[in-house]
């Protein structure tokens, strides 16, 4: 049976360490800092975001991301004729697609608003429940209503 398991540890550790050091030096060069920051900002939109089943804020962020609906379909093709045909079709139906996309954006933002409002209410309720729990679990003297008037 073929053993193609990963080499452990990974080979070329020495080279990798030197590369890391070189990269840190390159990173610290003043002239490039702004552009490198621009790269990171531009690629941030590709970051894989997943929401845990009880993380309503993360789920809301995902929803908001999806409200960015585009009316223009990609027209790329290695066949120039097909690409040109796609451009023609895209232009022909743009008025309809754009109309639909606008409504989908509006629907998306409305759904996101509902989510935002629900998240606010849930967080307030959670905070209130937590406060009540802590009061209930406190010693008798600290129970609600037992606080001495100041």
């Amino acid at each position: 049976m073929v053993n193609d398991g990963p080499a452990t540890p990974l080979p070329y550790a020495d080279v990798r360490a030197e590369i890391e050091a070189d990269a840190t030096r390159a990173e610290n060069g003043d002239s490039n800092a702004q552009y490198l920051e621009r790269i990171r900002t531009a690629t941030d939109r590709f970051t894989l975001r997943t929401a845990a089943s009880d993380d309503i804020r993360a789920a809301l962020a995902l929803l908001e991301e999806q409200t960015d609906v585009h009316a223009s379909a990609p027209v790329d093709s290695r066949n120039r004729g097909i690409s040109a045909a796609k451009v023609v079709v895209r232009k022909t139906v743009f008025f309809a697609m754009n109309h639909l996309a606008e409504q989908m954006r509006a629907l998306g933002w409305a759904a996101a608003s509902v989510g935002e409002a629900a998240a606010e209410r849930i967080e307030k309720l959670e905070a209130r429940v937590a406060a009540l729990e802590s009061q209930l679990n406190a010693p008798d003297g600290d129970a609600p209503g037992d606080q001495p008037a100041s």
Partner: protein
């Protein structure tokens, strides 16, 4: 005579699993097994190589032992057909991409991936055994309760790469190269799990820090249209529209021309069940810089430079090191050629048959 019939959802001549299936049929027949291919969908380039899975039940009965080898890589109606056949079942698991990469860009594909995972969870414990392309794949199928597992890599015949490249494209690329600028190559379906956005980001850093005339060629058909469009937007936003070329699907001759004129292959994929392009690059003496994730380290071994992170500056610095450090480059190329030998069909073919035979005996 023992029969081992292969089943797969789609048989395509340009597809790694399709080629693997066709080569395995040849090996099985040469080893004395009866073997046919049954596919739900067959592409035109291999039309006539497969039979209808539904017709399998109606074939003439024989007294021979008959095994079903199901190539599993996606959820398919074929799973139910295979499960209904009265014959011992074995899996050849090629991995299913994690759906989390696709929800945002191509929800329909994500749903198919989830369905595939569900089907795999059902069928893995029912199979007599499973073979897998990599240790990474083997671990997944073993965790689902498959009683016996083994690793047997995808069958690659590197002689296929000795055919002539597209002369006109090769000439164009070589002329561009002679004029200056490092040629980056990234090969693989344009898909979110393959993280071509990270390649573009690293390439942007490379142009700024090391070589403003560098070029990037991204070879691969698109699966997720939204992701494809965002990649174009990213390249434009970073001022790389003229330096990044998206080829879409290429012919075999065009692929060869690109490999023959590349300085480095960069793979920053996060989910691979094997990864053929890194071995293709090694075959052509093109050094590989890859992110060590999923099955990639197992495929690359010491034949390429594996990175543990993929910050754009780190990847750019690694590519520059590989380009400018001649002894390192020579070392990587030599190790890459050994890696290609390791995965050559002359070695993996007999091992695959031996593995299958052993597992079938153990399961009888």
């Amino acid at each position: 005579m023992t029969e081992v019939h292969q089943f797969l959802a789609t048989l395509a001549g340009r597809d790694a699993i399709g080629m693997h299936t066709l080569r395995m049929r040849t090996l099985l027949r040469d080893a004395g097994f009866g073997s046919d291919i049954y596919a739900l969908d067959t592409h035109d380039d291999v039309r006539g190589e497969s039979k209808d899975p539904l017709a399998f039940r109606d074939r003439p009965r024989t007294d021979t032992d008959c095994w079903i080898l199901y190539h599993f890589s996606i959820g398919s109606a074929l799973t139910d057909i295979v499960r209904a056949i009265d014959a011992p079942l074995a899996l050849d698991y090629h991995n299913i991409t994690d759906a989390k990469y696709f929800w945002r860009w191509e929800p329909r594909a994500a749903a198919r991936m989830l369905d595939g995972r569900r089907q795999l969870a059902e069928i893995a414990p029912e199979a007599e055994f499973a073979i897998a392309d990599s240790a990474f794949n083997e671990a997944e199928v073993a965790a689902l309760g498959c009683p016996r597992t083994a690793v047997a890599p995808i069958l690659l015949d590197f002689r296929d790469y000795d055919s002539p490249p597209d002369a006109a494209l090769l000439d164009r690329r070589r002329r561009a190269r002679d004029a200056g600028g490092t040629d980056w190559l990234a090969v693989g379906r344009i898909a979110p799990n393959k993280c071509q956005h990270d390649v573009i980001a690293a390439f942007a850093a490379y142009r700024r820090l090391f070589d403003p005339r560098a070029r990037l060629t991204l070879i691969g058909g698109q699966s997720a249209g939204l992701y494809w469009r965002e990649l174009h937007r990213l390249a434009a936003d970073l001022g790389l529209a003229d330096a990044v070329r998206f080829t879409d699907v290429v012919t075999h001759a065009e692929l060869l021309a690109c490999y023959r004129s590349a300085d480095v292959l960069v793979c920053l994929s996060e989910h691979e069940g094997f990864n053929v392009p890194v071995l293709e690059a090694m075959h052509f003496g093109v050094p590989v810089v890859a992110y060590a994730a999923a099955a990639v380290p197992g495929t690359v071994g010491d034949g390429g430079l594996l990175l543990t992170g993929k910050d754009p500056v780190t990847v750019a610095t690694a590519v520059e090191r590989v380009r400018s450090d001649e002894p390192l480059r020579a070392r990587l190329v030599a190790a890459g050629r050994e890696r290609v030998e390791h995965f050559s069909i002359a070695r993996t073919g007999p091992l695959l048959i031996e593995t299958l035979t052993t597992l079938m005996k153990q399961s009888s």
